[in-house]
Amino acid sequence: MSVRKLAVIAMLGLSSVAILALVAAMGASRASAQIREYTPPKTADPGADWTKRIEEILPPGVESRAEATARIAAYKPDPGKYPVPRTSWDGKPDFSGVYWPDATVSPPPMPLEPLYRPEAREYREHGGAAAGLIDWRGIDTPNYHCWPPSPVVGSMGGTVQLVSAPGYLLLLNEGGSYFRIIPIADERGPQPSAARKPSYQGSSVGHWEGDTLVVEVTNFNGKPWLGPAQAPNRPPQTSSDALRIVERWSRPDAQVFEYRAVVEDPKMLTAPWTGAADRRGMVPYDTVQESLCFLDPELDARHREFAARQTKNKTGAGGR
């Protein structure tokens, strides 16, 4: 929005206040006695920045994802130079900050695909139809349906905000406005419960192992895909309601956080799979912004029509 447009709005606001004051003065009966004085809210000065950014990892001007990713991957965390921030209430590492983008520090020790059970093939061939998708060979992916990002990457999208608060780690995604609320076990109090409705992002329960936050995520709804959309002739890497993920969150220094997940899904996989170790660098904003994901009903209707036609054609040709 342009400054000029804002100025017009501000002027409109101001003049309305003046009119309101006149109206109030003319007829006290119109204005409710409980209405308080209104001072138009101020906005911060342009360029105001509440984050104490350390500019070594992402200096101003680094705006291409490729360059940022390369810098973050090559970065050597230095807690001596950039001490790990700690919370005032329990002295544990404070993850709070806005981070972008994700860089792989070390790749998965082995690929995911060979771990899939052969007997899960048919379920996968149906594209997770049970999960509500209708045409995985086309554009019908979790992403298209506005489902949260894969739990293998912590349900994290492009830009994320982490928040440490007493008893919680919060994950706020900028893309889609998805969030995770991760209760952290306190050895003195009652343990957090994972019991609630099965969900896309599962139920998280965290506990500290030294300075690493270990989060166990269970109670998934069987819908998320573990990997990205595959080539058209390869079935999606579906998950089941038996999915269990153990995440390790750490803060090597004040500039970055690191994440790695171990994935178990006995109904889909023959053995646990270790995902990539990811690192994300802090960027100079202290909040993410509202950015919602909407499934376009019109596009959705056209898509369903297309899928129905495909099914009919297949049936006409004697099936596959």
Partner: protein
């Protein structure tokens, strides 16, 4: 007569929702998930850094209006609309409500849904999460100014900043887009009600959040919208009750999540 029909429709919806949820639970084969008996969130009156502690999962009661019954001061709101706004409102109907396409309702409308909200605080910030729609609010509590114009753009939930007035968190919200409605299409306080509740991008909301005791949170809002309302409108005080859980449910507003959240709204 209309009240009777409302009761019948509401009753039918409740039964349908119960059946639907029951069926989904059976399908998921996990048994009925029980709410946890206790929460880990601190119930202490103050945070470790000395602010009133609003942390918790809080549930309100459904509020609204039908002829003869108005629990959200909506007859007053209806009377405040400008003639120009009224003209536009007559051209719209229930299907134009942005929540029909899963756009999140902003507060104060979100406070009248009766669904849980969760508040979590850290020094300088409060975070509000709603269960009815998957969306979060980030509220600076240090009294700092709104987001700078450089980054400010119109949104569904608006841009918040807050300060403590005694033990009450006073939140100032602006920079709304002009799409949100202040109430639901079902809310018709008078016989002439259209059920359309427009807002403009000039809307300014002042909210007051106050924890009365360990289990009670009060919410009240004033809405100014000089482009659509002749004078500001005040909501009644909404009372939220603490829920003994650590977090709200994940409920996405998606077609496959069931007819009660999407398809029914689309009317298909």
């Amino acid at each position: 007569m209309s009240r009777r029909w409302t009761a019948i429709v509401v009753g039918a919806l409740v039964v349908a929702a119960a059946l639907f949820i029951g069926a989904r639970m059976a399908m998921n084969d996990t048994g009925a998930p029980e709410r946890a008996a206790t929460g880990t969130g601190s119930f202490a009156a103050r945070t470790p850094w000395g602010e009133p502690n609003l942390t918790g999962v809080w549930k309100g009661v459904p509020l609204g209006a039908s002829a003869g019954r108005d629990t959200f001061n909506l007859a007053k709101l209806e009377a405040l609309y400008t003639p120009a706004a009224r003209t536009r409102m007559k051209e719209l109907s229930a299907k134009d409500d942005p929540t029909m396409r899963c756009a999140p309702p902003a507060f104060p409308r979100a406070a009248m849904l009766g669904h849980p909200v969760q508040i979590i605080q850290r020094p300088g910030f409060a975070f509000v999460f709603t269960e009815a729609y998957p969306v979060f609010r980030i509220i600076p509590t240090s009294g700092r100014p709104h987001t700078s114009k450089q980054y400010l753009f119109p949104t569904y939930m608006g841009d918040s900043t807050a300060r403590w007035e005694g033990d009450t968190l006073v939140v100032d919200v602006m920079s709304f887009n002009d799409e949100g409605w202040l109430a639901s299409p079902d809310d018709k306080p008078t016989n002439g009600s259209t059920g359309v509740w427009l807002t403009s991008d000039a809307m300014h909301v002042t909210e007051r959040w106050h924890r009365v005791d360990a289990d009670t949170l009060e919410y009240q809002a004033r809405v100014e919208d000089p482009k659509t309302l002749m004078t500001p409108w005040e909501t009644p005080t909404v009372t939220f009750t603490r829920q003994a859980v650590e977090r709200i449910e994940e409920v996405l507003c998606r077609p496959e999540d069931g007819p009660e959240t999407y398809l029914a709204r689309l009317g298909s």
